[in-house]
Amino acid sequence: MTAFSEYTAYTEGDPIADAKAPSGAVQERWDTRRFEAKLVNPANRRRRKVIVVGTGLAGASAGATLAEAGYHVVQFCFQDSPRRAHSIAAQGGINAAKNYRNDGDSVHRLFYDTVKGGDFRSRESNVHRLAQISVEIIDQCVAQGVPFAREYGGLLDTRSFGGVQVSRTFYARGQTGQQLLLGAYQAMMRQVAAGGIELHPRTEMLDLIVVDGQARGIVARDLLTGAIDTHFADAVVLASGGYGNVYYLSTNAMNSNATAIWRAHRKGAYFGNPCYTQIHPTCIPRTGDHQSKLTLMSESLRNDGRIWVPKAKGDSRSPEAIPEDERDYYLERQYPSFGNLVPRDIASRAAKNVCDEGRGVGPGGQGVYLDFGDAIKRLGRKAVEEKYGNLFEMYERITDEDPYRVPMRIYPAVHYTMGGLWVDYDLQTTIPGLFAVGEANFSDHGANRLGASALMQGLADGYFVLPATISDYLARTAGAEPVTAEHPAAVEAVRQTEERLAAILAVDGDRTPDSFHREIGELMWELCGMARDESGLRKALARIPEIREEFWARIKVPGTGEEFNQSLEKANRLVDYFELAELMCLDALHRTESCGGHFRVESQTPDGEAARKDEEFSYVAAWEYTGLGEPPVLHKEQLDFEYVHPAQRSYT
């Protein structure tokens, strides 16, 4: 293991010359690509196998669609049922450029808003495709029976989300992710019954098998029996979600993890923009050290809730005792045209700023009010209940406070990772045959994701993009030799996996997996969270190898590897978090500009907004792994803007 100073001495490799998007007008590129893609004869599809890891929106929609097309899908999830993947917890909604409101929306406007919202760090080709497909997603989901909110005339209702001035977000009360996921899950279940999908629940991918430079299979552990097995296919799709759990406290599910993508990275897949993490502005503040996760309060609440703090520092009066003229509705004041609906990165930073000034509310001053008093006066309690009822109930269950009477207290929390495996326009990683969809890839959101765009991207990737592009790959690799468990690459991958688990069990130290997870999480939140600076990042980079060393000296996991062992699962995921955390910090250190969710203290405008440096940093940072603790190699993919011209984002 080398010291951190060597790790930060990364080198720059060849730039990524071509992300494989077709040329031509941006609105024609996706049609061009689909036409140019080779097809697999329907009769041959049954013999082509595709592994899909994960059953969230991207994975479930991809698995179902590939099986419907006739491919043989082998699908994995670590949950006991595919329906429990964490997309289920997405609350607010899904964007689509339907323009049902006749409010000036269009595919081009959704494209424009998303490129701008991402602070000009995403690809125009990808984002335009996403905007085009958004329209089809709503049709598809309605056909499946997804019960979107409707108006009395029977037509679909929409609402607004941050960073936009149209109403294009379709929703199912505060449970949109649940309803969309159940739609995709049900389509999957239909294929399981029809024999198109071979399903492996409670099975976790622990490594990727690469044969002759192509992704040909995975090593997976049956979580019930502990058995480690190999599975082979013609292509592998990772739909394993993001890596927000590096921070320990996040809105992710407890078991969401980065192992699948990190193992793929170690096998040669570049990692794109690891430092781009989204801190969501409206989460329920933590109550103590026992906290195991943070709960989001949907962004949709900012449609009607007003965010404020007292004007005076240290004002400890209860909110109702603070008169109107002593309240600072700081978002409305600073950003009059978007008000409470500014993008997430801006809202989060503004909340941090007022709390840093000593004007935060609640225990420790780590909170701001989200007040529905005016909305209840204007619309009546019943209307507010209709729109947000389940969110209010959830808030009350957790905090024991009634948000109909007392303003909610909220604070930013880690929510989403825009970074992920680098993929080309076809969603293929740098390992041929390995694809990444949904939050697992880095593709469409640039440096900041707009609200209600994650569901859109997950389903666009799974229902429409991947099925079109993977067939091209499969058609071009027809006749590939089958791989078996005896292949040296498979034997080696299994051996490494077994050794690693055995090594964890052998330490028999005195610290639990959770204690290490908390430690790395707190370090990352403090030094690579909402605001980052050089000295902090260097400190984190010095500290992470020490934590890793301590882990291998002191971790304690009871039991064996040949049984259902949840402690072993946790500890094994931690090994990957340590390495990923290191890369996140390095990426954050090297990007000395601020952009979107990545805020470098050294790079801000006079009024405290993120200051980009387009001349230097208008690129995707794609990192190549070279060995544990070894300096990685940076490959730059230049971003060019033909349609939406980079400007300082303005939401004032």
Binding site: S61, C141, G145, A172, R173, Y185
Partner: protein
């Protein structure tokens, strides 16, 4: 808070289980029930003992993974609340709390508090979907759906598949779970073409999985963390009778 927990420990499906007492101290009222179990597990790991296995994931009441029988009640004493959203303020200091897995013939115990609920996935596979292959969808506004129908479908679609209804039922019936999906899909015009095959297929699978029959005890709807109404079962039965009549005609 200081608590005595009596927890069901069972190594695997083939070994017999038993209730095992544990003491936990320093529990905050603001902890969730699962965070309290985290505290216990940290203690057990450091003492070199096997931590208590339990299913959990989102910890915000929507994934349906958590599944504990607390003092004989599915998801514990608070109405319309999953175990992960139940907080320790619902208990008094010094209490003794019994924690058991879901108990039902169709949910074999995997380990400690973890059970196998894959039978519910198979009930969905037997018809709990609308056949709408990707790419074949008509324009979303082509068929308006009256708001009351959309709302009824949504109310039933809220089911999180946790299995509390089965665990609470003296017969171990999955009628409320199955009824929720039948109501969700059969209420919508998109679901009409498969209306009969859906209800017949799902009910046949429910029986085949070893779930008990429904005697309208109503414990299921009381235990349901999402408030799926008992009346959904009546509608499902009506749908089934109607489908049978159509099938024999």
């Amino acid at each position: 808070m200081k608590l005595t927990l009596r927890i069901w420990r069972q190594e695997n499906a083939s070994q017999p289980g038993r209730m095992q007492p544990y003491e936990v101290d320093g529990i905050s009222r603001d902890m969730s029930f699962l965070e309290m179990l985290d505290v216990l597990n940290e203690q057990l790991i450091l003492a070199g003992q096997d931590p208590v296995a339990f299913d959990h994931d989102c910890r915000e009441g929507i994934c349906g993974a958590c599944s504990l029988m607390i003092d004989g009640q599915a998801h514990g004493p608070q109405k319309k609340t999953t175990t992960c959203q139940l907080h320790m303020r619902s208990f008094r200091d010094g209490a003794t709390i019994d924690v058991e897995p879901w108990r039902a013939a169709a949910f074999p115990v995997v380990k400690d508090l973890v059970v196998d609920r894959s039978a519910m996935d198979r009930v969905i596979q037997a018809g709990g979907y609308i056949t709408a292959p990707t790419g074949a969808a008509p324009e979303a506004h082509a068929a308006p759906i009256p708001k009351p129908a959309a709302d009824l479908a949504f109310e039933n679609a809220e089911c999180i598949g946790c299995g509390a209804c089965v665990a609470a039922c003296p017969n171990g019936s999955a009628s409320l779970f199955t009824a929720a999906k039948v109501n969700h899909l059969n209420t919508l015009p998109q679901g009409a073409p498969e209306r009969e095959t859906r209800v017949i297929g799902m009910l046949a699978q429910m029986d085949a999985e070893g779930f008990g029959g429904c005697t309208l005890t109503g414990e299921c709807a009381t235990a349901c963390p999402k408030g799926i109404p008992l009346a959904s079962i009546a509608t499902m039965n009506k749908e089934w009778l109607r489908a049978q009549r159509k099938a024999t005609r």
